[in-house]
């Protein structure tokens, strides 16, 4: 590049650093809250979050992976993705058994659910996966706020066979 010919390398570094900083700062001003411009992304850090009082019930999913030798491996939602990213796993479960999805969409989610659980149970041949939802009554201001050993209900959300097609279940 003719512009850089004969110039001090340290001055070139300084020029490139300033050009990059200008690009990033102008980019941050332009993209605002949009996330699609990665790596130019702003940190909103809860600026627009709604924070209501917690509800009087809470629920969590549980996965029963039934292996070829008829053993049951019980998993909670946490081993599939890193800490704080369980939202991805919950999204997959919702999509897999949601009546709002069409058959093709459900199939994609179920395939993802199957792959996700298989990944967490390496080396085992899984024949069937059951997804359960456990619900508890919560008093957010009490200590403890819930009794883990006394859920108010446990519901079978759905079942998947080896070739992900729902094989029955309820809500």
């Amino acid at each position: 590049m003719r512009f850089f010919n004969g110039r001090d390398p340290e001055r070139i570094r300084l020029f490139l650093a300033k050009a990059f900083l200008l690009f990033v700062i102008l980019g941050l001003l332009v993209v605002e809250k949009r996330k699609g411009a990665f790596p130019i992304v702003n940190w909103q850090m809860f600026s627009y979050l709604l924070s209501p009082f917690p509800e009087s019930t809470t629920s969590e999913f549980e996965f029963h992976a039934i292996t070829a030798d008829n053993r049951k491996v019980i998993l909670n939602i946490y081993p599939f993705y890193p800490f704080g990213r369980e939202i991805v796993a919950r999204g997959i479960v919702h999509g897999a058994f949601s009546p709002e999805k069409n058959a093709e969409q459900q199939y994609e989610y179920q395939r993802a659910l199957w792959a996700m659980v298989n990944r967490a149970v390496p080396g085992r041949n899984i024949n069937e996966i059951e997804v359960w939802r456990t619900e508890w009554e919560v008093d957010p201001l009490a200590t403890p706020p819930l009794d883990l050993n006394n859920p108010t209900q446990r519901v079978l959300v759905g079942r998947l066979g080896q070739n992900p097609q729902p094989i029955g279940g309820g809500r």
Binding site: L14, A17, K18, F20, V24, I25, F38, W43, R85, L141
Partner: protein, 388 residues
């Protein structure tokens, strides 16, 4: 007006190029720390897992417009494997410029794939800004590296570890500017979203109660102050105002290294509280704060002035490093054991890492505050002497 512009321009250059203690030594050690950190980050959330996600869960990222709708799994695995190999080369500091380029390109690419499915904004430093800045204006392979050993053997003069040339200080200051821009931007968003951030009564209290319930369900450490914050709205409001003011005034780190240390240690305390108690982990940003620590001074305290003398012939050393990188990259998606090297079998997750760092950050904050007070006393005495 023209004079003002040139004066401002020269001031910016002077600031970008101002000295840092042990600059050459500290960026060399930071390079090793960065590579290990990124490998740990990658272990916990490898891009191959994204292949299983439904297309509907993807949000468009401009950088990936050219990709087909459903790339095959080997594509995701390839990106992860090449990035891992590049990080191993970077860790050793062999062909550092090429390794930095590999990490920059594949790091940005990998994170853009992750962001499509699961946006985690704190990763922007570890995967994009750090390698890009060092690629375009830094030289973190000059010290604490195989490249440095090979250059010395070839007869080149060793780089002084206290060298504060632009190639060592520029990346630190450029990344500091980006960090300031993001923090101040976050503060400005809070001002613009005043009704939500300040206007919602019990904002922090409700958030803490919500995550307290989650902690009980997960059977992990519970936030001990959630009920206190909820029952005393003044604590809640004070916390929110302090966070907003902290973010808006983060530019103060540009004026003085002591203020920088104060703000960085406060930021670490903030992240540690969020990670440990509010269960909100912003962990991948942790590495950027490492730029502001004089790792070389710490190494000297442990009697490590330089890399130990490597007894391998240069040819074998090159082959060893390259083979390690290639094998590591090839095994990255094949062997879970490779991942567990960095996470200690899953023990060190994005939350647990903050638990020991919290007390260290508190100690650092207290020490910096004490030193600042000494600086202020010295300044007052000097001013009094000057007046009299």
């Amino acid at each position: 007006m023209k004079n003002l512009f040139f004066h401002a321009h020269r001031s910016i250059d002077r600031w970008l190029l101002h000295s840092e203690s042990n600059a050459a030594g500290r960026v060399g050690l930071f390079r090793i720390l960065y590579a290990v950190f990124f490998l740990w980050h990658l272990s916990d959330y490898t891009p191959a897992n994204l292949h299983e996600l439904p297309n509907e869960m993807n949000t468009p990222i401009r950088l990936n417009d050219w990709l087909p709708a459903d790339p095959p799994v080997w594509f995701y695995e390839g990106v992860g494997g090449i990035l891992a190999a590049g990080l191993v080369l970077l860790m050793f500091g062999y062909r550092t410029s090429i390794a930095t380029a590999i990490v920059a390109v594949f790091g940005v690419f990998m994170e853009s794939l992750m962001s499509s499915a699961d946006s985690e904004l704190s990763s922007v430093f570890v995967s994009a800004y750090i390698p890009i800045v060092f690629l375009i204006c830094g030289d973190w392979g000059a010290t604490w590296s195989v490249d440095a050993v090979l250059r010395r053997r070839a007869g080149a003069a060793a780089v002084e570890l206290a060298d504060a040339s632009p190639r060592f200080v520029l990346p630190i200051h450029a990344l500091q500017v980006i960090l300031v821009a993001l923090y101040v931007g976050s503060g400005i968003f809070k001002v613009l979203g005043w009704e939500r951030w300040i206007g919602q009564e019990h904002f922090l209290g409700n958030l803490m109660l919500y995550h307290r319930i989650e902690a009980y369900v997960r059977e992990i450490m519970v936030n001990p102050i959630a009920l206190l914050v909820y029952h005393y709205p003044i604590i809640d409001l004070t916390g929110r105002v302090v966070v907003m003011v902290f973010e808006l005034t983060f530019f103060m780190t540009l004026f003085n290294h002591r203020l920088r240390a104060l703000y960085v240690s406060a930021a670490l305390i903030f992240h540690a509280i969020n990670g440990a108690w509010v269960l909100v982990t912003f962990t991948s940003v942790l590495i950027v704060y490492g730029l502001f620590v004089d790792w070389h001074a710490l190494a000297v305290r442990f009697r490590l002035n330089t890399l130990p003398d490597i007894q391998l012939p240069s040819g074998i050393l090159r082959v060893f490093v390259l083979t390690t990188a290639v094998v590591f990259g090839a095994l990255w998606n094949r062997t879970p054991a490779v991942h567990t090297l960095f996470t200690f079998g899953g023990t060190i997750d994005p939350r647990v890492i903050w638990i020991p760092l919290g007390p260290i950050a508190v100690a650092w904050f207290a020490l910096t505050l004490w030193r600042l007070s000494l600086d202020l006393q010295t300044w007052k005495r000097a001013r009094t002497a000057a007046i009299s």
